[in-house]
C-alpha cells in the first residue's frame, strides 16, 4: 500500500475520504461520503470552510502549502509532496503521520486488504499472520467501495484468509459488486473453510459472477501440501473447497508458489490438477521473493529459479497437455528459459516493482516483470542475469 506523508489536525479516528478538486465537488458530492477537497490557497480554504458551515460537514480541505495551512488552526490536511491525485481514496488520522492510498484508479493492480488473520501458516508467507482483532478492516473495505469514483477493471481482495470473515466477506463482495458492477474481482483465499457445504452455500450462492477465487495448491498429496502450509488437514479441506466452488459455478485460479518442496514435485502436481481439477480457469506459477517467513526457511525458499528450468518446463508442458492455461508470475525473464517467456506475466504491482542496476542495459527489460522493490542483491534474493545480444521476444 502506498504511504504518503501528510500532516493532519483534529482527525481523531482513521478516516476514509476521496480526494477531489473544488470544481468537481458539486458533481460528485454525496452526503454519505467524505471528501478531501483541494484548496490551492487561502481563498480555496475559505470556500471549503464556508461550505462546511453551510452544512456540508463531510468536507476536509487539502493543501500543499504549509504556509497557507498555518494561517488556519487545525483543519486542513497538508500534503507537500504532491503525490496525492484526484479521485484517490485515502485513509488518514492524526496518529498516522501519513495517509494510506487505498485506491488509485491509474494503478495497474488494485488490492483491498481484508484481514491479517489466517488459518494456515505457510513456510514462505510474505505477510505472517497475526491474531489481533482487525475487523475494522471490513468496515474500511466497505468505505473504499463507496468512495471509489471510477470503477477499476479488476480489484483483488487479500489477507490473511478472507474466508475467516464469514458473512462480513460476503458483505464486502456484495457491496463492491453492487457499487462497481463492471469490475472483475479476485479473492485470494486458501479455500479451506469452503469445505463446509453450509458455509460454502452461504458464501457462494448468488455471488456475483465476476469473482475469481485464487486458491493456492502446493502438493498432489496431503503430506506435501500440508507441510508447506504447516497445517494438517489443509489439503483435504482445500480440495473439498474447490469442489464447492465448482458446484456454485465460481471461477478458480490455482496458485503455486515455486519453493523447493513444490518444485521437486511440480510435474506430478500439474498432472494431478489436469486430471482432478480440470475445471480451473488457469494455474499461476509464482516465483517467491524471500521476505516474511521465507527468510526463516531459506533452505526451502531461497532458490535460484534458473536451476529449476527443467521442472518448470515439465510442469507447464503437463498443464498444456491437459489444456489448462498456465501463467508465470513474479519471475524475471532472465530466470526463465526462453521457451517459457510467452507464459511470463508482468505481475508485480507498480508500487512494488523495481529493477536492479544490471537491468538498465538488459535487452528485454521492457518485457520483464522486474523485481520486488525490497529486492537487494545478496544471498536471499532473486538471482538475475541480464540478457545481452539479439533476442526476439
Amino acid at each position: 500500500m502506498r504511504k504518503v506523508r501528510v500532516r493532519t489536525h483534529g482527525v481523531e479516528y482513521r478516516t476514509v475520504a476521496r480526494v477531489i478538486s473544488l470544481e468537481n465537488l458539486s458533481a460528485q458530492w454525496r452526503p454519505e461520503l467524505r471528501f478531501l477537497v483541494r484548496a490551492a490557497d487561502a481563498e480555496g480554504i475559505t470556500k471549503v470552510a464556508q461550505l462546511r458551515s453551510a452544512g456540508l460537514t463531510n468536507l476536509i480541505s487539502l493543501t500543499s502549502s504549509l504556509h497557507v495551512a498555518d494561517q488556519w488552526q487545525a483543519e486542513p490536511v497538508v500534503e507537500t509532496g504532491g503525490i496525492l491525485m484526484d479521485e484517490d481514496v485515502v485513509a488518514f488520522a492524526d496518529h498516522m503521520n501519513h495517509a494510506h492510498v487505498l485506491y488509485r484508479y491509474t494503478d495497474q493492480h488494485h488490492t483491498v486488504f481484508l484481514t491479517n488473520r489466517c488459518n494456515s501458516y505457510c513456510l514462505m508467507c510474505s505477510q505472517p499472520p497475526t491474531k489481533q482483532d482487525d475487523s475494522w478492516l471490513v468496515n474500511e473495505a466497505v468505505e473504499v467501495a463507496n468512495h471509489i469514483a471510477s470503477s477499476p477493471h479488476t480489484l483483488g481482495f487479500s489477507g490473511g484468509e478472507p474466508l475467516l470473515l464469514g458473512e462480513h466477506l460476503r458483505l464486502v463482495l456484495d457491496t463492491f459488486a453492487h457499487q462497481h458492477p463492471s469490475t472483475r474481482y479476485d479473492v485470494l483465499s486458501n479455500g479451506r473453510l469452503l469445505a463446509n457445504p453450509i458455509y460454502a452455500e452461504h458464501m457462494l450462492k448468488g455471488l456475483s459472477e465476476r469473482v475469481t477465487w485464487m486458491v493456492p495448491l502446493y502438493g498432489h498429496a496431503d503430506f506435501l501440501h500440508d507441510f508447506v502450509v504447516q497445517s494438517p488437514g489443509a489439503f483435504e479441506e482445500t480440495l473439498a473447497g474447490l469442489l464447492n466452488l465448482r458446484r456454485f459455478g465460481q471461477a478458480v485460479q490455482l496458485r503455486i508458489v515455486l519453493i523447493r518442496p513444490v518444485l521437486e514435485n511440480l510435474a506430478a502436481l500439474c498432472e494431478f490438477i489436469g486430471r482432478n481439477l480440470p475445471f480451473v480457469r488457469e494455474v499461476a506459477l509464482m516465483a517467491c521473493e524471500p521476505i516474511g517467513f521465507a527468510l526463516a526457511n531459506p533452505e526451502l525458499t531461497d532458490i535460484d529459479l534458473r536451476e529449476w528450468s527443467a521442472e518448470l518446463s515439465h510442469g507447464i508442458r503437463t498443464l498444456k497437455r491437459a489444456k489448462i492455461p498456465a501463467i508465470l508470475m513474479n519471475a524475471p525473464l532472465c530466470a526463465l528459459p526462453q521457451i517459457l517467456w510467452p507464459y511470463a506475466h508482468k505481475s508485480i504491482s507498480d508500487w512494488k516493482r523495481t529493477f536492479a542496476e544490471d537491468c538498465a542495459t538488459c535487452r528485454v527489460k521492457t518485457e520483464c516483470a522486474g523485481l520486488f522493490s525490497w529486492h537487494h542483491p545478496g544471498k536471499f534474493s532473486m538471482k538475475i542475469q541480464k540478457i545481452e545480444g539479439i533476442i526476439n521476444v
Binding site: 498429496a221 489439503f235 483435504e236
Partner: protein
C-alpha cells in the same frame, strides 16, 4: 519432509501384468501407475515403506488415502461420475435409417438392398414419430445421424427429419449436430447448400487407395473410389474443409496395405483416420473364410498403420487415429469422449438409439444389423413408442444387467473395467446370447489387447509421443461418437 503426516489405507484397484517384473495398476478413478513387483507388494502389505514420491503418486491417483479424506473421496466420486456421463446423461446419439437402399454390393455388408429394391424405406410418419422420441431424451447435446443403405437415396426423408427437428428445437433448445453417413455418390450441390445451412456434417467410407476401395466396394461401373472422392471435393467446396469425415473398414484385403491406406487419407486432406476392424458377424459371418482374419492379423496391421500415422505427425502433418484417440481418452482424460462401445453399463440403448426403416427401434447399429440376419431379439420396441416405454422393455433391462463391468463375471476383476465393460449386443451376435461371459467375446479380446498395447506405449513414451497422446485424448474434435 515429515513422514508422520502419512497414515493411509488402501483403496480398491486392479492390475494387469505387463511382464515378470512389472504391472500396470488402475484405480477406481481410472488413474494408472506402473509398479514393479516389489512396489506392488509394498502397496498391498506395507504402504508406509514406499518411497515418498511413489507414495504421493499413489495417493494422488486414488490407490491410497491420506490422513483424512473429505476432499479426496468427494473428488473420486466426481471422477467416477464424469466417466459415466455418457450413459447417465441421456441418449445423445440417435441414428435414423431412412432406407436400406444402396448401389453398392459390398461383400462384407450385412444390410444393403439394391437400388431397384423398393419397400425398404421409412414412411414420412415414421420419420415424424422418431423425431418426437428423440426430444424425449434428457441429453443436452444431440447428434442425429442418418445411415443406410445410402440415406442420400432418400434425401426427401433426411430433409423432412432435419426440418422437423430444427423446428422442434426452437422450443427445446438443445445443441444439435447432424451427420449423414453416405458414399456421397448421389451428392449434389443443392444438397450441400442445404447441409451447410443446417449444421450437417458428412461421414463417408474411404477404405484406402482406389484398387483396394473398389475391390471392397464394388459397383457395376467400378469407380466407387473416384465417385466418393468427387463427393468429398464437392462437399468441401461448398460446406468448408471440415465438412467430411471418413471411416475405413479393415478387410482381409486391407491387411497388406497399412501404409498406403494411411497415406491415402493424408493425400485427400483428412486430419482424422479411424482404423476399424470388421465386425465378424451378421452377413459377413457367412463369408468369414473369405473375408475374415484373426485378432493378431488385425493388430499387426493396426500397429503398422499407427506407426505411419505417427510418422506423418512427426513430419508436421496433423493426423489423428480414432482408435488410439478413444483409448487415450479413456486412459488419460478426466472427460469421457462419449464413445458408445466402451461404456458400462453399455451405451447400447443408454447412449444410442436406432430408428430403423423396418419400423423398430434398436439399441445400437450392430443390433439392427443383427436383425437383418434374422435375429430380431434386440428390438426395444416400435417407432412411435415413447422413450420411457423403450427403456422399460425387458431387452433394455437385460442389456443393463449384463453390462456392469464391476459385476460381470471376468470383468469385475479386470484392471480395465473403469474404461470398458461387456458388450451384450456383440455377445448376442457372436454367441446368440447376451449373457455370454465377456472374456469369450471378440470385443473383450480386442480391447484387452488395445489397453495393454497403449499402456506399454505410454510406459516407454517420450515427450513428443505424450504430447500427441494427450492431444488425442481430449474429447474436443472427436467426431465419431
Amino acid at each position: 519432509m515429515n513422514a508422520n503426516f502419512v497414515a493411509g489405507s488402501l483403496l480398491p484397484f486392479g492390475f494387469h501384468r505387463l511382464d515378470d517384473q512389472s504391472v500396470v495398476a488402475v484405480s477406481a478413478a481410472g488413474d494408472h501407475t506402473f509398479l514393479t513387483q516389489q512396489e506392488l507388494l509394498a502397496l498391498i502389505q506395507t504402504p508406509e515403506t514406499l518411497e515418498l514420491k511413489k507414495r504421493a503418486e499413489l495417493q494422488s491417483k486414488y490407490f491410497l488415502t491420506g490422513n483424512s479424506s473429505i476432499g479426496t473421496l468427494e473428488l473420486l466420486r466426481s471422477r467416477i461420475a464424469a466417466r459415466k456421463e455418457t450413459v447417465l446423461a441421456g441418449q445423445s446419439l440417435h441414428i435414423i435409417v431412412p432406407t436400406l437402399q444402396c448401389e453398392h454390393s459390398c461383400q462384407y455388408c450385412q444390410v444393403s438392398r439394391r437400388l431397384e429394391d423398393v419397400g425398404h424405406s421409412m414412411s414420412p410418419s415414421q420419420i415424424d414419430a422418431s423425431c418426437a422420441t428423440i426430444f424425449q431424451s434428457q441429453a443436452n447435446a444431440l447428434t442425429i445421424e442418418f445411415q443406410g443403405g445410402d440415406p442420400l437415396l432418400r434425401f426427401d426423408l433426411i430433409q423432412r427429419a432435419i426440418d422437423l427437428i430444427q423446428k422442434m428445437n426452437l422450443e427445446h433448445k438443445r445443441r444439435i449436430r447432424f451427420v449423414v453417413a453416405s458414399t456421397l455418390h448421389q451428392l449434389t450441390s443443392g444438397m450441400c447448400e442445404y447441409f451447410r445451412s443446417n449444421q450437417v456434417y458428412l461421414s463417408t467410407s474411404l477404405d484406402g487407395p482406389a484398387l483396394l476401395h473398389n475391390k471392397n466396394r464394388p459397383i457395376p461401373s467400378r469407380d466407387s473410389h473416384a465417385r466418393t472422392l468427387a463427393g468429398i471435393e464437392l462437399a468441401r467446396s461448398i460446406m468448408g474443409p471440415q465438412a467430411v469425415a471418413a471411416l475405413m473398414t479393415t478387410t482381409k484385403a486391407s491387411l497388406a496395405y497399412p501404409e498406403a491406406i494411411v497415406d491415402e487419407y493424408v493425400k485427400n486432406g483428412f486430419t482424422e483416420i479411424f482404423m476399424r476392424p470388421l465386425s465378424l458377424y451378421g452377413f459377413a459371418r457367412r463369408n468369414i473364410k473369405h473375408l475374415g482374419y484373426t485378432l493378431p492379423e488385425f493388430t499387426n496391421f493396426y500397429q503398422k498403420a499407427l506407426q505411419r500415422v505417427l510418422e506423418w505427425n512427426a513430419r508436421g502433418t496433423e493426423l489423428r487415429e480414432g482408435t488410439a484417440a478413444l483409448i487415450f481418452n479413456k486412459l488419460l482424460s478426466p472427460f469421457d469422449a462419449g464413445y458408445v462401445d466402451l461404456q458400462s453399463p453399455t451405451g447400447s440403448g443408454l447412449a444410442v438409439l436406432v430408428y430403423n426403416y423396418d419400423g423398430y427401434v434398436y439399441p445400437s447399429d450392430e443390433a439392427r444389423m443383427l436383425a437383418e440376419t434374422g435375429d430380431g431379439s434386440l428390438r426395444l420396441g416400435s417407432i412411435g413408442d415413447s422413450l420411457a416405454q423403450l427403456m422399460a422393455s425387458p431387452v433394455m433391462r437385460q442389456l443393463i444387467e449384463t453390462s456392469i463391468s464391476t459385476q460381470a463375471v471376468g470383468c469385475e476383476t479386470c484392471a480395465f473395467n473403469s474404461f470398458c465393460g461387456p458388450d451384450p449386443v456383440g455377445a448376442q451376435a457372436e454367441f446368440g446370447d447376451m449373457r455370454t461371459v465377456a472374456l469369450l467375446t471378440e470385443h473383450c479380446k480386442r480391447h484387452k489387447w488395445l489397453f495393454e498395447y497403449f499402456f506399454r506405449k505410454l510406459r516407454t513414451a517420450d515427450d513428443d509421443f505424450l504430447d500427441i497422446a494427450y492431444r488425442w485424448a481430449h474429447p474436443a474434435g472427436y467426431s465419431n461418437a
